[in-house]
């Protein structure tokens, strides 16, 4: 399989980047997208050229490291899928594939396809945890949690922090990510004690980092690998009002 990659190359945060074209041969349909990039990099090494920097860790859709913009979509052409789960069979022989890093003011480019997503970490630091020291794993039945509540909390906990929601959003809003982190804990009895400060602190940080506001275009829920729904953002808004009144 033969494809033409057009890949964003940028040496450092301050340098000017550009799309560079690479003709790539010898790919197979069974290769994952990241393996295709590995393949390209091997060729570049042999030619003594600088390899394309891109991030990954698990390569099985759980770490959230691998996000890039592929042919105008976050994580490529499919809905709800990470870049590492995308395979070359989703493209045709001879295709041109444009690969760009996430674009958002709060996600500065580090190098090539790698962006700095520590803004997410700073939002998490504002309260996406409970402050009680829990020691070792407690007896599971000591705090009863209704099945619907634990299921709903698990759905929110599925967010892998990949940043696709921000990357695809016309406002670079982090509302989907932040709402998932907030709702996850605020739904559970363990999270209730700090629900209002958690919400106010985390949303404040979201704004401090320079993320935009939410227009509900719903692009994020289409690209989100964890299928977090935009109703999660509406729920965060409802909780915001509650926190302002009772918090």
């Amino acid at each position: 399989m033969k494809v033409t990659f057009k890949i964003w190359r940028q040496d450092s945060p301050d340098s000017k980047g550009e799309l560079k074209t690479y003709e790539t041969d010898g790919l197979t349909e069974d290769m994952s997208f990241l393996e295709a990039l590995d393949h390209l990099n091997e060729k570049l090494v042999l030619k003594n050229e600088k390899v394309v920097a891109f991030e990954y860790d698990c390569r099985e859709g759980i770490c959230g490291q691998c996000g890039v913009f592929i042919n105008g979509r976050a994580h490529g052409p499919h809905d709800h899928m990470t870049t590492c789960q995308l395979h070359m069979r989703s493209f045709k022989d001879g295709d041109t594939i444009t690969v760009e890093p996430w674009q958002a003011g709060a996600f500065p480019i580090v190098k090539d396809l790698v962006v700095d997503r520590t803004a997410f970490d700073r939002i998490v630091e504002q309260g996406a945890y409970i402050t009680a020291k829990t020691g070792t794993a407690p007896e599971a039945n000591s705090i009863p949690v209704p099945k619907e509540v634990s299921d709903a909390a698990m759905d929110m906990a599925a967010c892998i922090g990949c940043g696709a929601c921000v990357a695809t959003c016309k406002n670079a809003s982090a509302a989907l990510f932040t709402s998932a982190k907030i709702n996850h804990l605020n739904k559970l009895p363990q999270g209730k004690a700090e629900q209002h400060t958690r919400l106010l602190d985390m949303t404040k940080q979201m704004e401090v980092e320079g993320f935009g506001s939410c227009t509900f275009t719903a692009a994020c829920e289409v690209e989100c690998p964890a299928e977090i729904s935009i109703s999660s953002i509406a729920e965060m808004n409802a909780r915001y009002v509650k926190a302002k009144i009772f918090g």
Partner: protein, 219 residues
């Protein structure tokens, strides 16, 4: 002022304007009646409204809503553009979201243009007495019907009033359902129903307002 507060203002004022549009369209459908009954009824209705202090209060709320909606919409559109950064070389937004949702500000500019022209056509003449003076009908009511009648016998105004209902329809289709989510309505089944209601609402409003000038033109 927080990111939430600005959006709450846009949503609340937007919803208020949405309710206003229902009332406005209901009243304007009087214009669809045959000339003989339409003139008397419409003028009587419009005079009653103008003389009611409660309605006057609501009308000030309406002006404020438009002003705040536009100001905050402009603020967040600018802020959001700054958040975005440089943007992509290739971006297939149409595959994950509707065009209207991506272009609310752009659509809003057309609506604002419409509102300004519309106010000059009616409100400025009837309320402020600016422009050509307005006569009285046989019952002694201000003849607002006559303004409508003459305005909509000018084909350029008819076209303007019809065409500008297209951006309104798109703005309302996304705006109505979005406003509820902004204000914290998150019931999943309810949101699916709301999406359908928004579509029907946008259709009824844009076609309803759009068809009136056309019918008056052929009267």
């Amino acid at each position: 002022m927080s990111i939430f507060f600005r959006k709450f203002i846009i949503a609340a004022t937007g919803l208020f304007l949405c309710i206003f549009l229902i009332v406005h369209l209901s009243a304007n459908s009087l214009l669809l009646l045959p000339e003989a009954s339409a003139r008397g009824l419409y003028n009587a209705y419009s005079t009653t409204l103008r003389e009611n202090p409660l309605i006057t209060a609501v009308s000030y709320l309406l002006y404020l809503s438009i002003i705040f909606h536009v100001i905050y919409a402009a603020i967040i559109t600018i802020k959001n553009r700054k958040s975005k950064g440089t943007g992509y070389r290739v971006n297939h937004k149409q595959e994950n979201s509707t065009w209207a949702s991506q272009n609310m500000g752009f659509l809003g500019v057309f609506i604002l243009l419409f509102i300004v022209v519309h106010l000059v056509n009616f409100w400025a003449r009837v309320k402020l007495g600016i422009g050509e003076s307005v006569g009285l009908d046989v019952d002694g009511n201000t003849d607002v019907y006559e303004i409508t009648y003459t305005l909509f016998h000018n084909i350029y105004y008819v076209l303007f009033y019809i065409l500008l209902m297209i951006p309104l329809g798109f703005h309302l289709h996304h705006g109505l359902k979005s406003a509820f989510k902004t204000l914290g309505f998150y019931h999943k089944k309810g949101l699916r129903v709301l999406a359908k209601i928004s579509l029907v609402y946008a259709f009824v409003m844009s076609i309803g307002f759009g068809v009136i000038p056309l019918i008056v033109y052929f009267k």
